[in-house]
């Protein structure tokens, strides 16, 4: 990325930070919200304590299990859920024309405005881990930091790729005043049901497990939980794809699938977004005023 884009991204980030900080009450609410979410799942873990409910192959600590779910949830919430509303904000605010009349790339304004989501949600994912660890008995192990880093990068990229596909639908398919279907199908249907934030997806009926195999969350959570929760089993396959390709270790397969998803979703989202902008330029729909 050229310095120009980098400078602009920093300036967008600064602006979003100023705006975010101007709502001080929001910041407090935001910390409390993360705390309460963690408390809810801690309380839920009390129900499972002493029972013979198994989280195999993810150890036996439900708080650890669920805060990792929250960690991925908050990241996904930004990377997948944020691009569409940010593009929408640029459009309805009428500023797309002004950004287009600058030397910036098509992506920089959207990425820059997304920084609000990054400020909002990325620290939450860390806070969820911290609250779980400090107050509610979550335990983690960091014996494979390099693998964890790769998984983290791949979940960031692959979810952002889907987010870009979602954002591109604003201009490409003209979803301006209605529910955006890509985000709805991924975030509100498949992910909500099969990502396994709060329960292992092995408890779901097999067709839903297969459906869960279409999203990166399933593989990221599987790998993170196997690697980070004490007692996690790194060798036994449980996901449909792991069972089908049992020659590969589950974590290796998870990483491979995440890499493939990143390699497919990200360029596809990038391409679709450019096509969407070009279509809007042809049709005169870059901003709401004509």
């Amino acid at each position: 990325m050229r310095f120009r884009e980098w400078d602009s991204l920093k300036m967008f980030s600064k602006r979003e930070l100023i705006i975010w900080l101007s709502y001080k009450m929001n910041a407090l609410m935001w910390v409390l919200d993360t705390l309460f979410t963690t408390i809810i799942f801690f309380t839920l873990s009390l129900v499972t304590r002493g029972s013979d409910i198994s989280f195999f192959p993810y150890g036996s600590n439900y708080v650890s299990f669920v805060v990792l779910g929250l960690f991925v949830h908050f990241i996904s919430y930004t990377n997948l859920g944020d691009p569409f509303p940010r593009v929408s904000r640029i459009y309805w605010g009428g500023t797309m024309d002004l950004y287009m009349l600058s030397p910036l790339s098509y992506f920089t304004p959207m990425l820059g405005i997304m920084f609000r989501g990054v400020i909002d949600d990325y620290p939450r994912s860390i806070l969820a881990l911290l609250f779980g660890w400090l107050f509610f008995g979550a335990v983690f192990t960091f014996s494979s930091p390099f693998l964890l880093l790769i998984i983290l990068i791949l979940i960031l990229l692959s979810t952002f790729g889907i987010g870009m596909i979602s954002a591109s639908s604003f201009y490409l398919f003209d979803f301006k005043q209605q529910v955006e279907p890509v985000k709805f199908i991924f975030q509100d249907v498949i992910i909500a049901l099969t990502a396994g934030y709060y329960y292992p997806i092995t408890v779901l009926p097999y067709p839903l497990q297969v459906l869960g195999g279409l999203i990166p969350h399933t593989y990221a959570l599987d790998a993170l939980r196997r690697l980070m929760i004490p007692g996690g089993d790194a060798l036994t396959p449980v996901l449909p794809l792991q069972l089908a390709l049992s020659g590969l270790s589950p974590v290796t397969l998870d990483i491979l699938v995440l890499a493939v998803m990143s390699a497919v979703f990200l360029p596809l989202g990038w391409f679709m977004y450019v096509k969407g902008i070009e279509k809007a330029r042809r049709e005169g729909t870059l901003t709401r005023w004509q």
């Binding site: 300036m11 602006r15 024309d97 009349l101 005169g284």
Partner: protein, 322 residues
């Protein structure tokens, strides 16, 4: 020396899709236009006439369906990115692009980076704009706490941060009170004079075009129905200027002498007033007065009645004379 054109549009047509319909709305219909370097050019027309669409085509924000054209020598189809990087635009409402959570200065700092102003020159340029637009006293104010006129000045300041040779102003005084609108009009003149920037502005305020623009294109239903200097538009209008002279009853010889002047089309005396219809008031007024005085007519008052741009506009869009 040949006049350098910064914009050349030839037979531009643009049709918009109509939602839930196969039909298309023609926003620009075979529009041809040249805009000279350094002029203030007005696009005049009522709502829906195609002014904003034309601005968007010229600025590279919208692709035309038919026709050819260049802005600053760049082809509107192949080089639209280059065009966009070398022109500025002020949107119809000042709030577009103005963040109310940032101060006036912070807003300018933001856009200075977006417009890729050299790092070392940013502060200096922002200071220059704050002074030039008389916004210095508001630099640490929130945009919502300053007047609408000053917010519009902020929008203009943003567009001037980079010294682009062409600035498009889309209805720059819309929603402003009379005082603020006058201040913005003064500013437009100043930008043009001091920086030599070509200003292309849309407006539906006729007096504004008349005050600011060297040339005006009158748009109606996607077409340019007339394009010329305000003076020429007046001249071409098949409505004559009028002089009303309060004077003694002129003699028949005096009346005949006036009617003999080639540009005179009517001459009538009634109720102590001589009403003369003529083609060009400015060049011929003195001659008429000289003839009357030569025939011993005592003149007490002279009133002129030239057609305004509004007359031309109404006449043009109603299919009249130009």
């Amino acid at each position: 020396m040949a006049i350098e054109n910064v914009i050349e549009m030839r037979n531009i047509t643009k049709r918009y899709k109509i939602r839930k319909s196969r039909e298309r709305f023609t926003a620009l219909d075979d529009v041809s236009l040249s805009i000279r370097k350094g002029e203030i050019f007005g696009l005049l027309g009522s709502n829906g006439a195609g002014k904003t669409t034309l601005i968007k085509v010229m600025s590279g924000l919208l692709q035309a369906d038919e026709g050819t054209g260049e802005t600053l020598g760049y082809d509107i189809y192949k080089d639209h990115k280059k065009i966009r990087a070398t022109v500025s635009l002020v949107a119809p409402t000042a709030d577009v692009g103005t963040d109310n959570n940032l101060t006036v200065r912070q807003n300018l700092e933001f856009w200075a980076v977006v417009y890729d102003l050299e790092r070392e020159k940013r502060e200096e340029r922002i200071d220059e704009m704050l002074d030039f637009l008389e916004l210095r006293q508001y630099e640490n104010h929130w945009p919502m706490s300053i007047s609408a006129g000053n917010r519009q000045k902020l929008a203009i300041a943003r567009s001037l941060l980079v010294k682009n040779p062409v600035v498009f102003l889309d209805e720059p005084t819309v929603k402003l009170d009379a005082k603020s609108a006058a201040a913005v009009r003064e500013l437009v003149k100043k930008i043009n004079l001091e920086f030599g920037i070509t200003v292309i502005m849309t407006t539906h305020y006729i007096y504004e075009a008349e005050e600011l623009c060297e040339r005006v294109a009158i748009m109606h239903k996607g077409k340019i129905v007339s394009c010329d200097t305000v003076a020429n538009l007046r001249r071409n209008l098949q409505r004559y200027d009028e002089i009303v002279i309060t004077c003694d009853q002129p003699t028949t010889e005096a009346l005949n002498a006036i009617t003999a002047i080639p540009v005179i089309v009517s001459c009538e005396y009634a109720d102590g007033k001589l009403t003369v219809g003529l083609e060009n008031i400015r060049s011929n007024l003195l001659e008429i007065l000289k003839v009357l005085r030569g025939h011993g007519v005592s003149i007490t008052e002279v009133a002129t009645n030239e057609p305004t741009l509004e007359d031309i506009f109404v006449d043009t869009i109603s299919g009249g004379g130009v």
